[in-house]
């Protein structure tokens, strides 16, 4: 018998996830279906291998970084709540008129949080700065063996030079935001969910 996807997820859990992430009821059920289909071990959590089994993700140059984003510090398993919390960053930005509740903290998919998510893809050691080395690491992942170390180094230097305003030879989050202020983050860091 197949797993009864929608019945394993209790209504209270769905409500909690809805509040935390902003996904709709049907989106949460569909994503739970997806979560269980990826969970080959059928133990309610995903490990890194479960993600790597997706061919399109395995061939993505930044695949490993993206997978890492799901796993909190030092852990090897992610449950459905954690899965949804990370996915929520890619929800399209809500209409600002809708959410007038001042008690609700900034939603996970705000422009700021999306940029922070992208920043953390670079900033591996989480010191709130993108150093030259960290930038080089990401560059190397994206270009593979096709560019020499020297050339890559100069690309990294140039990028830091353009972005760096306080002269510390690294890119802070504020500087990151400044560089990307004209980019349509709303569209480029959002996935269009149906219904």
């Amino acid at each position: 018998m197949g797993s009864r996807a929608s019945t394993l997820l209790r209504d209270e859990e769905i409500e909690e996830i809805k509040k935390e992430t902003g996904f709709s009821h049907s989106q949460i059920t569909r994503l739970y279906s997806r979560f269980t289909s990826l969970d080959k071990g059928e133990n309610g959590t995903l490990c890194r291998e479960d993600f790597q089994r997706i061919p399109e993700l395995a061939i993505n140059p930044l695949g490993d970084r993206i997978i890492n984003a799901f796993f909190p510090e030092g852990e090897d398993q992610v449950n459905f709540r954690g899965f949804m919390r990370t996915l929520a960053h890619f929800r399209p930005i809500d209409d600002p008129e809708k959410n007038k509740d001042p008690n609700v903290s900034e939603p996970l998919n705000s422009r700021n949080n999306k940029l922070l998510f992208a920043f953390r893809l670079y900033d591996l050691d989480k010191d709130d700065k993108i150093s030259r080395d960290e930038l080089l690491q990401v560059l190397r992942m994206m270009v593979g063996v096709n560019i020499s170390d020297d050339q890559l180094g100069s690309i990294a230097d140039r990028t830091i030079q353009e972005a760096d305003q306080d002269g510390d030879s690294s890119i802070s989050f504020t500087e990151f935001i400044k560089v990307l202020e004209k980019v349509d983050v709303e569209q480029k860091m959002s996935i269009r969910f149906l219904h």
Partner: protein
């Protein structure tokens, strides 16, 4: 006690006679008594009624209906170059071709997340989700309790399927296969002649017809004028071992495959006596040139039956056609493409070999409602002069996918078990590198 034993015996004999008389004999001669048609009519009516009830039931309960036929997300289909250039439009600086931007990472992360939410490949290796429940226990994934009447029908269905249909079908399959082994061995005793070939074809056809009745198979053949001819190669999309029964009901093919032990081995050894099939030892399969040579020899002999090959190399779930291995397309000869599409409402034909072994799969097949499928014979194709084997394979695959209404994928069916090759990632890295160093590649 003895009387009881006698009664059981005579009941069994009566039942067996009925089965043979009403099903086996007509099947052998290709005649239909209309029993299957009546059964199918009743079945369709019941399923339609059940669908309406379920739809009404879920409206009343106000549970949001999850649409499974659509995807979860809508993807942009732009190329890497287009998407990244779009991203860079926001820059205030004039765009110099060949530069890195911090925003480039957005492209890869978005693609990555899209593939986590929904990808084209992983769900091809599990059974297709149904739009509406078809009253089979096994497809009850997202459907909750609706009403008492539906549950009663379901219980009735379970009883009918397991207590009436299953024994009937097992009997038919046994009769069919035994007849194949015995008949083929008998025919094999004859010296090679036209009569032998004719008899061998007859024996094969009879057996497969009985087996098809054993699965309550309703097959609709389209475009019979394109049927594979002798000395050709028939290629089809692969969903399950039953594909062979489906195709062989309408024509005779030479099978290709590995030598097995056990029951399958007995069948293999028997039928090769009647007409030439191509069986390989496990060790021989590794030698590509040997395989190609033997197949080429077979195809060159115009008196031999057309070979049946499934170029995907593995079973996929009948919603898509995956990469065709080029080996079959290097042999030469005329290719006769065939598209097979099963109707998922009546039974799930897909063999998920990771989850079920052959025996449990066959039991699942025999306890489904029925197997309903369409078979389209496509016009024959020959490899063109300038075409490589891979291009030819893709051309044939596209034609089959188009006809069967299946998604044409270039992903390898072997991804069911194996990891994806690194070459694809390297291709992406190469394209991206070109973007950031500009046109002069160093």
């Amino acid at each position: 006690m003895e009387d009881f034993g006698n009664i059981v015996c005579s009941a069994f004999i009566v039942w067996l006679t009925l089965v043979v008389g009403l099903i086996v004999l007509p099947a052998m001669f290709g005649i239909s008594l209309g029993i299957t048609e009546v059964y199918m009519k009743v079945l369709v009516k019941t399923l339609e009624w059940a669908t309406l009830r379920i739809q009404r039931g879920s409206k009343e309960q106000q549970k949001p209906t999850t649409l499974v036929s659509n995807g979860i997300i809508l993807r942009d289909d732009g190329s890497m170059e287009k998407e990244i250039t779009d991203l860079r439009k926001g820059r205030s600086k004039p765009q110099i071709n060949g530069e890195f931007e911090l925003s480039d990472i957005f492209y890869f992360s978005k693609k990555g997340f899209e593939s986590i939410v929904e990808d084209e490949v992983t769900h091809r290796f599990t059974s297709e989700e149904l739009v509406s429940w078809n009253l089979l226990t096994r497809s009850n994934n997202n459907f909750q309790y609706i009403s008492l009447r539906i549950s009663i029908i379901w219980v009735l269905g379970v009883c009918i399927r397991y207590c009436i249909l299953l024994p009937l079908r097992v009997t038919l399959a046994t009769i069919g296969l035994s007849w194949l082994v015995i008949g083929a061995s008998l025919v094999g005793l004859l010296p090679n002649s036209r009569v032998k070939n004719w008899l061998s074809e007859l024996v094969h056809l009879m057996c497969y017809r009985i087996c098809a009745r054993g699965l309550s198979a309703t097959i609709c053949y389209h475009n019979k004028e394109n049927r594979p001819m002798k000395g050709g190669i028939c290629v089809a999309n692969h969903t399950s071992p039953i594909d062979i029964v489906i195709l062989a009901n309408d024509g005779c093919y030479a099978m290709v495959g590995q030598v097995h032990g056990g029951l399958l081995g007995i069948i293999q050894r028997a039928i090769v006596k009647a007409c030439p099939h191509v069986w390989f030892e496990r060790s021989e399969m590794k030698d590509r040139s040997l395989v190609t040579k033997r197949l080429r020899n077979h195809v060159a002999d115009k008196t031999k039956l057309p070979i049946l090959i499934f170029p995907e190399g593995t079973c996929v779930n009948n919603t898509s056609v995956m990469m065709f291995k080029k080996g079959s397309f290097e042999i030469g000869g005329t290719i006769y493409p065939v598209a097979i599409k099963y109707d998922p409402r009546f039974g799930d034909a897909f063999w998920n070999s990771a989850k079920y072994n052959m025996v449990s799969y066959l039991i699942r097949m025999m306890t489904s409602w029925a197997i309903v499928c369409d078979v389209w014979y496509l016009p024959s194709m020959i490899r063109q002069e300038e075409e490589s084997a891979v291009q030819f394979a893709n051309r044939v695959k596209a034609a089959i996918a188009r006809q069967g209404g299946l998604v044409d994928l270039s992903w390898d069916g072997g991804l069911k078990r194996a990891k994806v090759k690194d070459t694809y990632k390297e291709e992406q890295q190469k394209s991206y590198s070109k973007m950031i160093v500009g046109d002069d590649s160093s």
